[in-house]
Amino acid sequence: MPDVTVRIAGANGDGVESSGALLMKVAAKNGMQAFGYRGYQSIIRGGHVWFQVRVSDAENKLHSHGDQIDVLIALNQDAITNQAPHLRQGASVIYDPTKIKVDSLDASKYRLAPVPMLDIAMQVSGDPIMRNTVAIGATLRLLGIEMKVFEEVIKSMFSRKGEKVVNSNVMAAAQGYGIEGLGTIHQIKGDGRSRYVLDGNTALAIGAYAGGCKFYSAYPMTPASSILHWFAAHADRGVFFKQTEDEIAAINMAIGASNTGVRAMCGTSGGGFSLMVEGLGLAGMLETPLVVVESQRTGPSTGLPTKTEQGDLLFVMHASQGEFPRIVVAPRSVEESFYIAAEALNLADRYQCPVIIMMDLYISEHVETIEGFDTNSITIDRGKVVASNPEQGRFKRYLYSADGISPRAFPGTPGTEHVAPSDEHDEYGDLVSDALSGIDKYVEVRRKMMKKRMDKIDTMLKNEKVFAPGIYNEGADFFLVTFGSTTEPAMEAVEILKGMGFNAGVISFSYLMPLDREKTAEMLKGRKLIDVEVNYTAQLSQVIMMNTGIEIKDRILKYDGEALTGKEIADGVVPLVSRK
């Protein structure tokens, strides 16, 4: 067993999430690898929720939350009923014998570990919520993790609440740890070097902060809300956050702020993005730099609000009337979310266009251990910003230029006054719409201005190296083709397939629009390809077809709201590569 998957299951309000977070922190502090994911519903109390923490040795980086459960912490009877199908043979089941019946489980298949959690909790602290800590203590014993680090984590988490809370937590865990007959099922080896525990949204928010983002506007919507929580919590440290009346206001405020000279970002999920679409076109027309985060969840409409999907790709690529340059990018990991957020702000400024960062619930909300970030690699490039009018006369904000990028000036600067207009306009920003459209001279203006804007796509493709997929294990016999969050589980599938005797690779896209067609085609052609996506219509394969003419017929698609795991992908691959 290379790693251990622990699932804590109960009702909302049982402290499932905080127990998961605690376990993640203990593993991270011990220098282990950990990956956590939460299954929940749109309900504040009750329902059935779980938090899965997969832990492995320091040198074994995890790429997904795992499949079958090795340790189940059952906090209520539903947890036994609902999670039984996910138990691996031989799994340990930690449960409170005074509250929960396990008759339905075959005792010969599982290690049943009765722990009188509630009794211990009441005896130690008089607070029933402490029963989770008892269970975590028992789990640490199963994983061979010493209590010392746990105590440090508890101190750092609860010291604000006073010594009594810290002590009762430690005592509760120690009692759980000491339950007779638990033993250690698998010794996880840490390297003692403490790691960060981050989810994709937090990594993205800090990346944006590092990249000089000073303005974030949003309306709450799962799974994008934790980005706004981060900005709101740090508003006393130079990042402005505004919760708006709707997503229409969120994007238009960000445009107003960006045009005024601050790096601005707004974020939402698919439903909110639908409302933002008109504003997206405004940014395209005004050539205002703008970063929009779209964290996808299961659609259409309200869909499954707390479940994941990659169903918005084509929508985001084509949202808005008319044509204008935009950049669409989907980070492939939590770590990449940090760097891409910072770089998106540079690209938006450099090409004066909207950049849409596509997250999804899986990458936005799952937590994983990360060793560190290269903050020295973060640079801030504001693009063609001028501090005075380079020419005589009125400022040409929309100057026809060979690369399509015109000089930009911030309000407050003397001599560069201009209007940024949503109607078609000439080099000064004067409208050529209502009174002038159709007149020969202005037909020419429209043609030239449209071309000027669109020329930025050629400039991006010429100057940036990012608009082509990456490849892993170049010499493989076949390749899993992915974008965004599906990439990590695909990497795991490669390892699983290796164990089964298959030589698989991954071709993965983070930047999806524009695409360097030649480079993309070159990488794909002549290779056996299997498209892997979390949606119904294989949208990435449609993008590939559109750009390269290459059709990927073999597909592994999932659209039930749950994330793909490495094992699922590997299981899907086998029949596709075994058939003759």
């Binding site: 506007s217 708006t244 107003g256 702020a257």
Partner: protein, 294 residues
Amino acid sequence: MVIEATTKQVYSSGVKPIWCPGCGDFGVYAAITKALTDLKVDKSNAMIVSGIGCSSSMPQPFSTYGMHSLHGRLLPVASGAKLANHDLTVIGTGGDGDGYGIGVGHLVHTARRNINLTYIVMDNETYGLTTGQTSPTAMMGHKTKSTPFGAIEMPVNPLALAISAGATYVARGFSGDTVHLAEMIKGAIMHKGFALVDVFSPCVTFNHDNTYDWFRPRIYKLDQSNHDPSDLGKALGKAVEDFQTNWEKIPIGLFYQNNRPSYEELDITLKNGPLVKQGNPTKEQILGMLEENR
């Protein structure tokens, strides 16, 4: 650099607006120019933001900074501009369809935020640029292409709406009296908070009910009637007087003013100065943010 504004030409870009001859919006243009001139506003520090509609070509003839945005969305755009740099003088200019129809939700929320903006609505009770359909401020019975049998919806009362939503400066002017209107706009620009100036700005092409001649005998000035603009209840009373008198008596002037702190004064980030002038984070600060996740 402070530019001393001595003539009206300082604020002119030379671009002609699209309005029909006789349009009320010319009066509004003249009044804004007079207000900027009288207050000696630095044109490089002024930003005029519009939505879409006839009124929304307002930024074009000005030599200040400007944004011409989306139908109904000028308030969020203008808010973003002001929040990013609250040293700017930001003036929103739109119409009744723009501000009281498609964008009315933003009016409510911008008012309660009390962002230091001036919002001028050219209210002609019709949709001009789309060639004459009914508007949210059209009077009952008003006939247009979209209401050929007469409007059957109550008009919005923008002043009562703005006052109850928390706007801290609410005034009304008439584009047939630009001297008075300029005073209302000057008061709005000087006011520290969200200021609405609703302007009767007749559409000479599509609205033959609410004409200059219709307004003149009906309007009277609040400053000549012992109105106390600091009294919320009295302000609301005056705001509904046109409705109560079936538009026989229509007050113009300053209805309400309150000096509660503006959004920029209360916001924890903006207290440290305009956002656009705040520096980027240091490596140590970035690492500090990351360290919180250990």
